[in-house]
């Protein structure tokens, strides 16, 4: 691949942000449409990536250029079947969240530029194959997100923004230490320093080293995911963030953690991964049940969706540490699914907030009568989130459950309880918000979805159905890469993936 697709994909949003910034400040009617149109360019580019992507293991669209040769840092980009879906998800969610940001009153130019910069950072993270480049993007993302929450958030935004920033910065500081340690080990072994992912894969680390490196990387990513018990920044950040912020935070940024686990923790430290997988799985399962249980009693819709994220992300983590084909596949596809469905839910809550200026469940009631289309879309997203088969949420959850049952039956069974709880908290919330008679006067005249808002949901609904009924479009591309990870674990440890031959007794 001669044309540097990925670099261009990173650059386009940055240029778009610049274009948006140089627009005349008083022509406010221009800002959003321009940003929206420009944000569609990456969608097209990602579409080309998707079309040209070959279902095979290994990295594609690779480009490499030395940055600091002495330290072995290079601009090394490339994607595999794990990164591709996430890049697609990012590029799709950005225009959607831009289109949903019409109510931003405070310097909308800056806001849009921040969103576009965030996109560049996210694509960079998912395509970086050099650990320093990865780290730089990983950190760079915090800045636009910090401002998005801190400037355009609601009342308690500063607290939330700082909490968000400190939490993640704490994790990434640990990770930086780990990255440097890896490079030092690399230098000790081969004589030349390198931060290159493919070089570091060849390191044969001792179990002890693996253990603590796994821990520092793991903590950084666990905070990002967020896993129990380091999840408390998430509800605050979500409640305070503006709609676009919540969508991107839940939709893509949380996936940095799970992606990091898949990309680094499993292949780089297979030994420790196998050894500490039960710990991770335990936390994941606690997260599933705990997040769901706490979500039940939330009084704030956004907080409810935020805790549901904790629960759903638990599924992803459980799938990842199952070390089975379907577990990993399910984890990856669940990342995409969660991004779409939770994104949709946050969009809906945001639109509700724009209309009523409250997110408290108790303030609503009977909205299905006044806004039937809205209620329909909400119910649809709710069921996608609950994991109704035929919609996308189920595919990921089911793959994860089946995959993790093979290696960790008890965990899988407990996790299945999350499926029941999800129905309780989401349907209960739906019941309280939408059903009954609209008895509060302010709920009687709430406008239904307008054309713009309806159009926002069209792509999401199409994706939910497509991924629910024909997930093969993604699964085919994901599988070789996840298989490679399992092969690597099997090759370096004594872990053996259970295989199921039809007609033979399992286990």
């Amino acid at each position: 691949m001669d044309f540097p697709m990925l670099s261009v994909l990173i650059l386009v949003p940055v240029l778009a942000a610049l274009v948006v910034m140089v627009l005349p400040a008083d022509r406010t009617e221009l800002h959003l449409p321009v940003a929206l149109v420009l944000s569609l360019l990456p969608v097209g580019l990602a579409g080309i990536l998707f079309a040209r992507f070959e279902s095979a293991a290994g990295f594609q669209f690779v480009e490499q250029a030395a940055l600091i040769e002495r330290w072995g840092i290079s601009w090394h980009l490339g994607i595999d079947g794990i990164a591709l879906p996430l890049i697609l998800l990012t590029t799709i969610l950005i225009p959607i969240s831009i289109a949903a940001s019409t109510s931003i009153a405070k310097s909308p130019q800056l806001f849009l530029a921040m969103v576009l910069l965030l996109e560049a950072g996210l694509i960079g993270v998912f395509s970086a194959l050099d650990l320093i480049v990865f780290f730089v993007f990983f950190e760079a993302i915090l800045i636009p997100m910090y401002f998005i929450i801190g400037i355009w958030g609601s009342e308690n935004r500063i607290y939330a923004a700082i909490k968000f920033f400190l939490y993640t910065a704490f994790g990434s500081a640990l990770m930086l230490a780990g990255i440097i340690a890896l490079s030092v080990l690399q230098q000790q072994k081969t004589g030349f320093a390198s931060f290159d992912y493919s070089d570091l894969l060849t390191l044969e680390l001792t179990p002890g080293t693996q253990a603590w490196l796994f821990a520092v990387f793991g903590i950084a990513f666990a905070i990002k995911v967020p896993m129990f018990p380091v999840h408390t920044w998430l509800p605050d950040a979500h409640v305070q963030a503006p709609t676009a912020g919540s969508v991107l935070l839940a939709g893509v940024m949380l996936k940095l953690g799970t992606y990091g686990f898949l990309r680094f923790n499993l292949p780089l430290f297979p030994d420790a991964a196998v050894k500490y997988a039960p710990v991770v799985a335990t936390l994941a399962v606690i997260g599933i049940v705990y997040g769901a249980a706490v979500a039940i009693v939330q009084t704030d819709l956004k907080k409810l969706v935020a805790y549901s994220s904790v629960s759903h992300l638990g599924f992803i983590m459980l799938g990842i540490v199952a070390f089975t084909q379907s577990g990993l596949d399910g984890g990856v596809i669940q990342m995409v699914n969660h991004g779409i469905t939770t994104g949709a839910l946050f969009l809906l809550v945001g639109m509700l907030y724009e209309r009523r200026h409250t997110k408290l469940i108790a303030d609503f009631g009977g909205l299905q009568k006044t806004m039937p289309v809205f209620a329909g879309v909400f119910l649809f997203s709710t069921f996608a989130s609950i994991g109704l088969p035929g919609l996308n949420g189920f595919v990921g959850e089911f793959l994860v459950l089946v995959g993790s049952y093979a290696t960790r039956p008890a965990f899988a069974i407990i996790a299945t309880a999350g499926v029941v709880l999800a129905a309780i908290y989401l349907l209960w919330a739906y019941e309280r918000v939408f059903t009954g008679e609209p008895d509060k006067p302010e709920n009687v005249n709430v406008a239904d979805l307008n054309l713009r808002e309806t159009l926002i949901f069209v792509p999401l609904i199409i994706l939910i159905l497509t991924l629910g009924l024909y997930p093969k479009v993604l699964l085919d591309r994901i599988e070789p890469s996840t298989a490679a990870i399992i092969d690597r674990i099997e090759a370096t440890t004594d872990f053996v993936e259970p295989t199921f031959v039809i007609g033979e007794p399992g286990e």
């Binding site: 018990p229 408390t232 299905q368 595919v395 049952y405």
Partner: protein, 640 residues
Amino acid sequence: MDFLADYLWLIIALPLAGAVALHFGGKFLPEPLPGLVAVGAIGTAFLIAAAAFVPLATGEAEAHILMLWDWMPGIGAAFEIRWDQLSALMTLIVTGVGTLIHIYSIGYMHGDPRFSRFFTYLNLFAASMLTLVLANNYAMMFVGWELVGLCSYLLISFWFTRPSAAAAGKKAFVVNRIGDFAFIVGLMLVFTQFGSLSMSETVLSHPGEVLSPGTATAIAILFLIGAAGKSAQIPLYVWLPDAMEGPTPVSALIHAATMVTAGVYLIARNAAIFELSPVALPIVATVGAATALVAALIAVGQNDIKKVLAYSTVSQLGYMFLAVGSAGYVAGVFHLMTHAFFKALLFLGAGSVIHGMHEEQDMRKMGGLRTAMPITHATMLVATLAIAGIFPFAGFFSKDEILASVFANGGYYLVLWGVGLFTAFLTAYYMTRQYIMVFWGKPRWVEGLKPHESSLWMTVPLMVLAVLSAGAGFLNTPQLLTLEHYLEPVFEALHPAHLESELPRILGMDGLAFGLAIVSLGVAVIGIATAGFVYARSSERFRQWFANATRRPMNASENAFWVDKFYGKTIVLPGKKLAQGLASFDSFFVDGAVNGVAGVVQRIGMSLKPLQSGFVRSYGATFVAGVIGLVIFFLTRGGL
């Protein structure tokens, strides 16, 4: 008719297309066009199914599988249709009864502002139920399984402005989810054992070579819990009575004829696995018998016309469980079919009554309706006799066959047989009670009410169903055994070793079978007679005495033995408390720990604050001190 084999997907696709079309275009159509569209969709599906059924029934065609598309190849999940005798029969029931109920709904939902939306949901439900029935893959079956739950949710809370309807819909879905939880775990177990989720590679291809009795028991129990959720068995039956909040056609279609029988279908489909386990079938039978008895006892005390039918449905479903639990699969499926006819008829009749009584559901405010609503009365009478098990109506044959299958197993099953027999008595009793309370006696209507017979949209389906309820029993008379032979390819391989009975499995018209039939008929007659005496023929004084004597049990029955309250106190409330506790744990401890760390850091910072006095000279002094310290340190370390 072989060309139809490749077009079986139309059976699912047509109602689905109807649902999609009505969803987007329905609001532009005037009444009753959306209803007609929906009827057309499901009616055509029925015709296709019937056409494809004929070669199967005549033996010209074999069961076959139609692969649609791969879903999750990694775990063997795919969309594939299985067209065999069992699924074909189920398809016919679903589309046939479904079509009738669709037609009925055009009349029943007349004037509702969300008329087209109702048919959208009905069509969607039909598509989902057919997905469930036709699936040759557990994953696809689960799609249908959940989608019918979704439709049930949507239709129960169709009148969402009523808080009770919305709550009932949610309750139904959540309770079902508890069953699904077990079902999913069962699927995981199936996959890890077989390496596939396709039925033709798992349950239908010598599962005995793969499964140990222990695993088979585990899978069977998990499936049983799943089935208990969907088919409203103990302990998960509580959602079904509440589900009566939905429009009556919904109760007829979903909560009587089709969806709730999915559990029976599931067990019949997976009979091969159940038989591998030494205990699974007896457990199924026990659950069924217990449910049948308890629900029948509750039905006796109900005063809401639909609630009686709801508990009666639960009871009859228990009967079906009892049947499949006794390895009487054909009897179970047979009863499933006849029940679909007469219970749908009962519900539709009840709907007609409610309609005629202007949304009155309390039987205590009815009475004497037989003249005002002659067609409804006649058809309801047929259905009542059918469910009570009076010869020659359909219920007699199917119920008799169930009791015979149970009896045939001997041993412990004899107890269950007794329970079944007693339940038959109760069924006859409470159905007669209902019939009398609604149609006979003096009118107890609210002032000014003028009951009227329903429109043809509603009465025609009633009459069709009445014919079916009356005659369907002859499909499987003990002598001809048409259904038995038809279903033979599905169940022939099954012969549970541990249910060795001294009696022949299929009872011919020998003396014993005849005797059993007489006994069950007699019990039904006694039940009818008792109810007739108590509610119609007895003197006022006797009725007073009877009411006093049975006040306490009737009160318990009317309140459904306070099971809902019990669940509320033992499960829902503690669950909510636990969630509340976890939420405060989250904000006080987990988040508190984080904020605590931040607080400690802040306090350290505050305590160091005086150092930052703002006086340059203090800083200078500190700086010099630092330099001196460092110099001394390096000098001493350097060992000058």
